[in-house]
């Protein structure tokens, strides 16, 4: 490097931004888009179980908690060392129940009807949990590897954000600037606008995303603790999951859970109980932890009361946390946005969508910039073609696969084996097909076709829903079922959005005039 002029900091950062962004871009795009959908995770879960009654009459939490406990003791999990349940909320009207499988390691979970205390007779589906889990573990991957990959992508994304800020010459002067119809310049302006306008959100979501899994990415602090009990104590400080102690081996009847829930409500107010965990039920050493609901506060650090499961004596109350746990809890909470009211949730959703668009426009810029400099535009080099096709497969392919996942939920027969897994298979199969399509078709056509197909699939979802469920648009409207109505409206809105994208790509190809002279041909067609 001795003979060359040293690069300026801005140039160095620009190179870093471009290549870091490209390297992690496709996975980050997938994380952003599925993560965006996850802000409506509970709602998607309800939409994907249309058999659920629209509004369940809610009884007192204490009554429901006792009913579920009795049902677990009698029918579903006798002899289990751990029972847990999340009581119904306005967003998710069923009880999510989990229990330790006595036969093997691990937890089983199911949706229970609060009115009967029995598992719900609903179609098997992962619901919104699929998008949520995919956004940090990519599904078809060993658990550790997926999360590690997500962490690396998050870290690279953070690098891309910071180097991007340094690269951007005039954040304030260009704040509202968009020069349309100018090819690369327009892409750059658009990319910058999407980035700058949502910047606080993009930084927050990327950084807090890393913090959610910090104990996995940086385990050394925790490993340095002398005993497993200490490590468990740290975990219990951050998560509402309490490892059961060894049972005393002496049978004893469980105290009334309903009474304990009422005592917790006396302390925190009605409707304040979130989750309940019962360790070693039926044993003399039983423990019952009752967690305070986390709505209306940002931090996810749990607050709970710990009761003796036999005498009902209050053993401890954890209502405060150390500053480190609190910081972690607030960042975790900010990432999840579970505290949000409806408007705030839509803000999250919208900003997250601009984040997705930011990543996508960044990926596009890489090709837009290089297309102009190709030596022979009809035969671009391998790297260019690879990026171009991967862009199509991801940016246009993933929305198609996600829409297909919803279609599969309505179309797959209700009683086939492994139904929930089959829905996910449809998702990946469609994504693979979209990728194949992106490889085989001329690039501009592949863009238009995949976007158009996605728009069509989205637009027809309300029709499909009306044909396959008893909760079509007209009925939802008549019943005041805002959730299903909202989904129908959202599908149409997204169909329009994706349709506009398809139209734009197509018009772009056809637009005559001065641009054509400069913009080279790809696969015989101008883009």
């Amino acid at each position: 490097m001795s003979g060359r002029k040293p690069l300026s900091i801005r140039q160095t950062m620009s190179d870093l931004h471009i290549w870091a962004g490209l390297l992690a871009g496709w996975l980050v795009y997938a994380m952003f888009l599925t993560g965006t959908a996850s802000f409506f995770r509970d709602e998607i879960s309800v939409w994907m179980r249309p058999e659920l009654p629209a509004i369940t009459a809610t009884e007192a939490p204490a009554v429901i908690a006792q009913r579920i406990t009795d049902s677990l003791a009698r029918d579903h999990a006798p002899g289990s060392a751990l029972w847990g349940m999340a009581l119904p909320t306005r967003r998710l009207p069923e009880v999510t129940v989990y229990w330790a499988d006595p036969e093997r390691r691990g937890l089983k979970r199911d949706m229970f009807d609060p009115a009967t205390g029995q598992p719900m007779a609903v179609r098997a589906t992962k619901g919104g949990d699929f998008f949520y889990e995919f956004h940090f573990n990519f599904h078809h991957m060993p658990m550790g590897l997926g999360r590690l990959l997500a962490g690396i992508c998050g870290m690279v994304m953070l690098v891309a954000i910071i180097s991007g800020i340094i690269t951007h010459k005039k954040i304030f002067t260009d704040f509202f600037t968009f020069r349309g119809g100018k090819g690369q310049r327009s892409w750059l302006d658009g990319h910058a606008a999407l980035s700058v306008i949502g910047l606080p959100f993009h930084i927050m979501i990327t950084y807090s995303g890393l913090v959610t899994l910090m104990v996995m990415y940086m385990p050394w602090g925790l490993q340095a603790l002398p005993s497993r009990a200490d490590q468990a104590a740290v975990n219990a400080e951050m998560r509402f999951f309490l490892m059961p102690d060894h049972p005393l081996g002496e049978a004893a009847a469980l105290v009334s859970v309903a009474d304990l829930v009422r005592r917790a409500e006396d302390r925190w107010g009605p409707g304040s109980v979130g989750r309940i965990q019962i360790n070693n039920p039926g044993d003399a050493g039983a423990r019952i932890a009752i967690e305070r609901q986390s709505a209306q506060r940002i931090s996810t650090v749990p607050q709970y009361l710990m009761f003796d499961g036999v005498s009902g004596a209050l053993l401890s109350a954890k209502e405060h946390s150390g500053p480190v746990a609190q910081v972690q809890g607030v960042l975790y909470g900010l990432h999840m946005g579970r505290f949000s009211d409806l408007v705030t949730r839509w803000l999250y959703f919208g900003l997250s969508l601009t984040g997705t668009a930011m990543v996508a426009s960044g990926l596009m810029l890489w090709t837009v910039k290089r297309r102009a400099r190709l030596p022979d535009p009809t035969r671009p080099h391998f790297g260019f073609r690879l990026v171009e096709r991967l862009n199509i497969a991801t940016i246009a392919g993933l929305p198609l696969a996600m829409t297909g996942f919803l279609w599969a939920n309505r179309l797959l027969p209700l009683h086939i084996a492994e139904r929930a897994a089959q829905e996910i298979n449809v998702f990946f199969a469609l994504w693979a097909l979209a990728a194949l399509w992106a490889l085989l078709r001329p690039a501009p056509r592949a863009w238009v076709e995949l976007f158009a197909l996605t728009a069509l699939a989205l637009a027809l979802l309300p029709v499909l829903n009306a044909l396959t469920t008893a909760r079509g648009t007209a009925r939802s409207f008549a019943a005041g079922d805002w959730l299903f109505l909202g989904f129908d409206l959202a599908f149409i809105a997204f169909a329009v959005l994706v349709g506009v994208l398809a139209r734009r790509v197509q018009r772009h190809r056809q637009r005559p005039g001065k641009r054509r002279a400069r913009v080279p041909l790809v696969g015989g067609e101008a883009l």
């Binding site: 002067t173 704040f175 509202f176 600037t177 968009f178 349309g180 606008a193 306008i197 949502g198 910047l199 606080p200 959100f201 927050m204 209306q296 506060r297 940002i298 607030v330 900010l334 505290f339 408007v343 705030t344 803000l347 999250y348 919208g350 900003l351 601009t354």
Partner: protein
Amino acid sequence: MIHALTFLCALAGFAALALSMDRHQREILRHPLPRRGSLALRALGFGLLLLALVPACRGLGPALGATVWSGHLSLAAASLFILLLRWRQRAGG
């Protein structure tokens, strides 16, 4: 209501900030403002952005309020961005 107030305050703030810039003065007013006017608009803009914190924090508490405020800042900036884009398209044909 809290959301509407916060958003409108932020929108007005960004509008003032845009008008304090040379480029947008030429675009909208067709001539640049004197330096004093620009500085006043800039101060007004930042002031309004800060003022938007008040309804959010009073209505939702400082923690939630600040979070929601930050979201509305972005939404307001995005809205103004689109409004200016439309303005330009109409003015420029």
